[in-house]
Symmetry: C2
């Protein structure tokens, strides 16, 4: 049985879908802080998915959740990067300490494999674009990015000290159905409040790699199934980017609203700790034979369409 932490969340629930599709039995551990029961409702009664309500900061609960588990997919984390500027221990606790608790529970329970949702945020403002996995030095500028790098380091230390097998995935910005945060989600909510005006944080030139949640979880499982040994590190993305101003245009197009004015707050970044440009080099991923089904702009458009129908406009 596989354990998915944060399995009721946005990306986690897509991963549960993909694992069930592979014929796996899945246990979800989630504290439902941003996860939702409805994201897993379609598995009810199937017998394939077991839901364990618990918090990763409760070490006893994490140890209980490890019973009968062969591999862990650790996706639980604070999903709101901006929050780190206000409540500075959120990412430390829900990121770094939670990952420690997962690894320690694995060690105690002799669970040997972990797949971890890291982030392009570890690169900070990288001096090389597109940014390959061996770029250094990595200097995250957000507290979220710091917690992802800290978690990666715990995984490689567990691998080196206790022999765990770790798969580290540095995600592009992941978008898709069930999204509960992020720029597309924010734009739709803003248009719902005021259909005449869309406020964009920053100058709109921020540019990032986007990947659909569907492609993201497929690529995670693809990388694991290659069976490579030693800490395995991969950028997961599409190999292109989309600007924030383009996302604003796409969301407005998909909304069907007319005459919306786009107002930029100005400045290179959306907020303190926001990286103006991220562009992942995915040569390594594509070299393994994986092909994304949607490039950044298409992933953004598909997401805008489905979130508009989920949220309602």
């Amino acid at each position: 049985m596989d354990l998915v932490t944060g399995g009721a969340g946005f990306i986690g629930s897509h991963l549960v879908d993909a694992l069930v599709e592979q014929g796996k039995e899945v246990r979800v551990m989630d504290n439902f802080s941003s996860g939702r029961e409805e994201f897993l409702a379609h598995h009810e009664g199937s017998g394939s998915v077991e839901v364990y309500r618990g918090d990763l900061l409760d070490q006893e609960a994490v140890i209980t959740a490890m019973e009968g588990i062969e591999a862990v997919h650790h996706l639980a984390a604070n999903p709101d990067i901006r929050l780190g500027t206000e409540v500075t221990d959120t990412d430390l606790r829900q990121g770094t300490v939670a990952t420690y608790n997962v690894l320690e529970a694995m060690r105690v329970s002799e669970v040997g494999r972990i797949s971890f949702a890291s982030s392009s945020a570890v690169y900070g403002e990288a001096g090389v674009m597109p940014t390959p996995e061996d770029y250094g030095p990595v200097m995250p500028i957000s507290l979220y990015g710091a917690s992802k790098l800290a978690s990666e380091a715990l995984i490689t230390a567990w691998a080196g000290t206790f022999g765990a097998q770790g798969y580290i995935h540095r995600f592009a910005n992941i978008v898709g159905p069930r999204g509960t945060h992020g720029v597309i989600f924010d734009f739709i909510h803003k248009l719902k409040r005021d259909p005449a005006r869309l406020e964009v944080l920053g100058d709109g030139n921020q540019e990032k790699s986007y990947m659909s949640a569907h492609d993201c979880v497929k690529s995670m499982l693809h990388v694991i199934d290659l069976g490579e040994e030693g800490p395995v590190l991969n950028n997961l993305g599409t190999g292109d980017t989309c600007s924030v101003s383009r996302i604003a245009e796409i969301v407005i197009e998909e909304s069907g609203l007319e005459g919306v004015s786009i107002d930029y707050t100005g400045g290179r970044r959306g907020w303190a700790g926001d990286v103006p440009k991220t562009y992942l080099d995915v040569t390594k991923l594509l070299g393994t034979g994986f092909e994304p089904t949607a490039m950044s702009e298409q992933a953004v458009r598909d997401t805008a369409r489905v979130l508009i129908s989920e949220i309602g406009l």
Copy 2:
């Protein structure tokens, strides 16, 4: 006034000496878990050094210690790398969480500068030797190395989010008077117990960069005094290495003991998480005009001599 965390410890107390020599007023914060009052005894009555006994895990105490501080030198940490294999939350708490507490106290108290004692352990088993600062991906294999990388990431995140100025120093193995752990210290204690036989963990071919504590603190202050902006990252070392078997020979030579047999336990590493070879590229440091006074072998020999006299053999 400058704050030195871990200022009663091995490297910390040397840094206090160097700061006082520069004419600075210094506050030491130390929980005296491995620090010792005698390491600072020579400053008593000088009026330059104030000692504040407190633990970095006590956030209120750290905030109190920030009063009137302009710059922080954060050296406090668990000094025993091997301990991570037994008590797995030591480095998380005394490394990562302690660094978070220091940074958060700085933010609350509006203290803007931090100099941090990181380690070559962040590189893990690097694929490039000598290893430059821009080597990637960094994959520490010890829990100690993981906590150092996590702390670096917190510092760059604080710089990116709150505008702190950070100096990150990746130390070689630092040796010298007042050493309280490490291979030379261990060898002397072993010879004290059994002057006929020296047990060496591993095959003796482990090879690392050594730097004297004197050169270490001089190079830290040299780098800070350059006044470079943005997160400043430097390897601090001598640009050469010394093997563990050579250290065994040197310690025996300096001990004056005759006919000592050296027994190797075998294997590439001394213990799980031990990196068999570390070799720091210090081109960047030397390029700033800093010159170490002792290369690795000399630093080891000088340390053996002084520790033998401190410990008694």
